[in-house]
Amino acid sequence: MSLLSPGFLFAAVLALPLVAIFLLKVRPRRAPVTAYFLWDRVFVEKQSSAFFRKLRDVLSLALLLLALAACVFAASRPVPTDADDRDLLVVIDDSVSMTAGVGNGSAFDAAKAEARGLLTGISDERRGAIATMSDAVRMQRFLTTEPASLRKQLDALEPSWLPTDASAATVLQGLDGFADSLRTVVLTDASPETLGLPDDVGVISVAASGERDNAGFIAADLQLGADGDEVIIFFQLAASASLAEQSGEVVVSRDGRAIKIIPVTLAAGEASPIITTAAGGPGVYQLELALDDRPSDAMPSDNRVQLIAREPQPIRVAVPPASRFFFENAIIAFEQSEGIVRLTPEVRADIRLERGSDVPPADARLGAIVFALEPGSRWAATVGDELAAPIPRIVAQNHPALRFIPIESLTFTGARAVTLATGTAVLVEDQAGNPLVWQRRALPGDDTPSGLVFNMDPSRGDFFLSPYFPLLVRGATAYLGGRSDEPRAVFPTGAAVALPGLTPDQSGTITNPNTNAAETPAAVRTVAFGDRTPLTEPGIYDIDASGIESQLAAAVLHRGETITNAATDLPQLVELARGAPWWVKLAAVAVLLLIAEEALYHTRKVG
């Protein structure tokens, strides 16, 4: 806009009535006095005030004209020639490390304040949007020209307990095609290099004020001992880069009562893992870190981990009389170590190990793990001749029953050509398509039980002596017993888990930790079999799997979040216009000028 444009010339005309009004304003009141000679005496010592009065009048007029000029410029909506007029998407990192800081001085608060400054300049010509980014990018407010709605959305934002996932930035890479019309700015405490953001995405580093050093757990686990009267505890600590070496302790408590105190020494970086034991049985345990010299650090949320030691509920397994020794040892190996299986007589068994030649059990619906098929077996429609050196090929990838087995390296000695009945699913087959491992599911109205069939004879080729045999038995047993996804003692926040104890066609509920029960009820989610639900906050989750109640624990166990960036002055990598638009600033200047003139006017009127 040129100063010679009609708008400015018209504005110049406005100055004339302004000057006229000013002259009327500054004209003093006429005051007849009877003792004029006495007033002369009073003012004889104040000759200099006349000069200042004239100066004040000139200043007052100048202020009025400047205010008029500021108003005219503001009305013209000026925009700097080098200003970026693209729409603005502000992405705020809401990962758990952004909670670092005390009170309102957290990095997340700093990011919100920065975002507020950036979005204040949103106008009719330039839209703004807000998104958050942790394990994923989530749009919080789509492009709008309303700064008030953006501010409202900003105020409502809260940091999550989730870690930053660099893969989330791939979503932002998809915005490459909009670079001409959209500018994306990420506000984060993470190192820009680690995020792998596209080049045209700006990064503004934010940091917590005050305390910036942090220490906390980055890994933890717990397992009930074989005797059930002690727990084995594993944990690993880490500290931010600038933390000086210092000592502290980890307090182990069970159901709120301290049972053990473990001295620790921390320095910058990761500490060595610690494995220890403590007396105790099943229950909820807690590890809490306390440093001697630093009663608090930047992020308290990673100083505490809750873990669950579950009551062992082994799957009862019966073994066939033939080759009993090897089958029994395969069960006993895991009965003694993790207690997931237990050798038991067939009458009380949940699952039966059988050879193809074994007679069917008394309970026809007893699940079975079957080896060495013989012609006439109930597990196949037909059983033919033995196959010569079949080469296995996995059909069902990542099947939980075969999770720890290198199937493709097994020889499957003794496998036979078979045709399968309906209701079976092939997991592994040979190069000719002969099934080598299949699963049969019990169907309604069908007497055939669920089972996993391994088309091989383990007594041949010394497979009984292979370490994979007990693993194969254990994996198949856990799968049939619904225990393939045995929950861990604690999950890191953000982990997606399947509800333990659910069998096909069942669903259950998971109740979030109710950390703020006085204000909001805990969130309850319904989860179907096979679905995985994310654990979004630390604490104990209550599970109801078709009437079977259990618990899950989650904690902030993320190396990248705990080892915070402790640099005091992070570089600002992008330059963006902050604050109100120029026309608002000019209008504010005009108001200030008018206030100053009004102050002068006040002195003229009241002295």
Binding site: P28, L38, V42, K46, K605, G607
Partner: protein, 292 residues
């Protein structure tokens, strides 16, 4: 001041009559020569005894004393003489807001004087001396006197007390009672004028009339001060400091008037327009008339 509600208003005259009666009682009930003098001579009021000398009035010999002492003793009486009351009514423009009040005071004192059979003359005081009431005496002149004072208007450009006193000195060689009724805010001062009056052997009694606008300053901020008499103007900014300085200057001015009056043995009553005129007159009478 219109005559209907002015000095010839019956209510006002009744108030003057009351004051006149008060004056008789206070001053001894003698209508003629109410004012006592130190001169001895023919009169009514006994003053002293003196030895008879040849040429003395035989009527003054106290024969009772002669009967007892066989000495010729004469009685001396205070000389009772006509007094001339000269009222100098300030009619300058600075008195515009106070002129009505000043007129009432002047009229009341002139009324009492005429009732006392004294001679009264009233002059207007501004840049020059202007006659408002010619010398007169007797009760018959009461109403004309009141009318003349009532119709007096503000005049003049710049009041000059000195010049007026010089004119008065020239006109009245005979001793008189001079009563200036003014705000005494004379730019050229008042000391010289009062000195001239005293030099002429006049008895002077100053009656200072001011109002709030004279003594206080409620102006604040920018103002274009204008002298009501000369029309001089001055643009100033009046802060509370300047306002206080002005009020202090007025106080000093009035204090200098009081000091000058005390030094010259001149009577002074300072009053403001918010005090009723008859209260002021009563105050003057109760303290012994217009004697300093």
């Amino acid at each position: 001041m219109s005559s209907s509600a002015g000095l010839t208003d019956p209510a006002f005259i009744r108030r003057l009559e009351s004051l006149s009666l008060l004056a008789r009682r206070v001053l001894g009930g003698k209508l003629q020569a109410d004012r006592r003098t130190n001169r001895k001579g023919m009169g009514v009021q006994f003053a002293d005894y003196a030895e008879y000398n040849i040429g003395d009035d035989h009527r003054a010999i106290d024969w009772r004393v002669f009967g007892r002492l066989e000495q010729l003793i004469i009685k001396l009486f205070e000389l009772e003489e006509d007094m001339t009351l000269v009222v100098l009514l300030d009619t300058s423009r600075s008195m515009a807001s106070k002129l009505d009040h000043a007129k009432r005071l002047a009229a009341a004192l002139a009324y009492i004087a005429l009732q006392g059979l004294d001679q009264v003359v009233v002059y207007g005081l501004s840049d020059k001396l202007q006659t408002i009431v010619e010398p007169c005496h007797g009760r018959a002149k009461l109403l004309p006197m009141l009318r003349a004072i009532d119709t007096a208007e503000s005049s003049g450009v710049d009041s000059d007390f000195d010049a007026c006193c010089r004119t008065l000195q020239a006109r009245h060689r005979r001793r008189a009672m001079v009563l200036p009724v003014s705000d005494f805010l004379f730019p050229t001062g008042f000391e010289r004028g009062l000195g001239l009056l005293r030099y002429s052997n006049h008895e002077v009694f100053c009656l200072q009339v001011q109002d709030d606008a004279d003594r206080r300053c409620d102006l604040r901020g920018d103002a274009d001060l204008e002298c009501v008499e000369t029309g001089q103007r001055r643009r100033v900014t009046i802060t509370p400091t300047e306002a206080a300085a002005y009020e202090r200057a007025v106080q000093d001015w009035n204090e200098s008037l009081r000091t000058a009056c005390v030094r010259a043995g001149t009577g002074l009553v300072s009053t403001t327009t918010d005090i009723a005129f008859d209260d002021i007159i009563q105050r003057i009478l109760r303290r012994g008339g217009l004697v300093a």
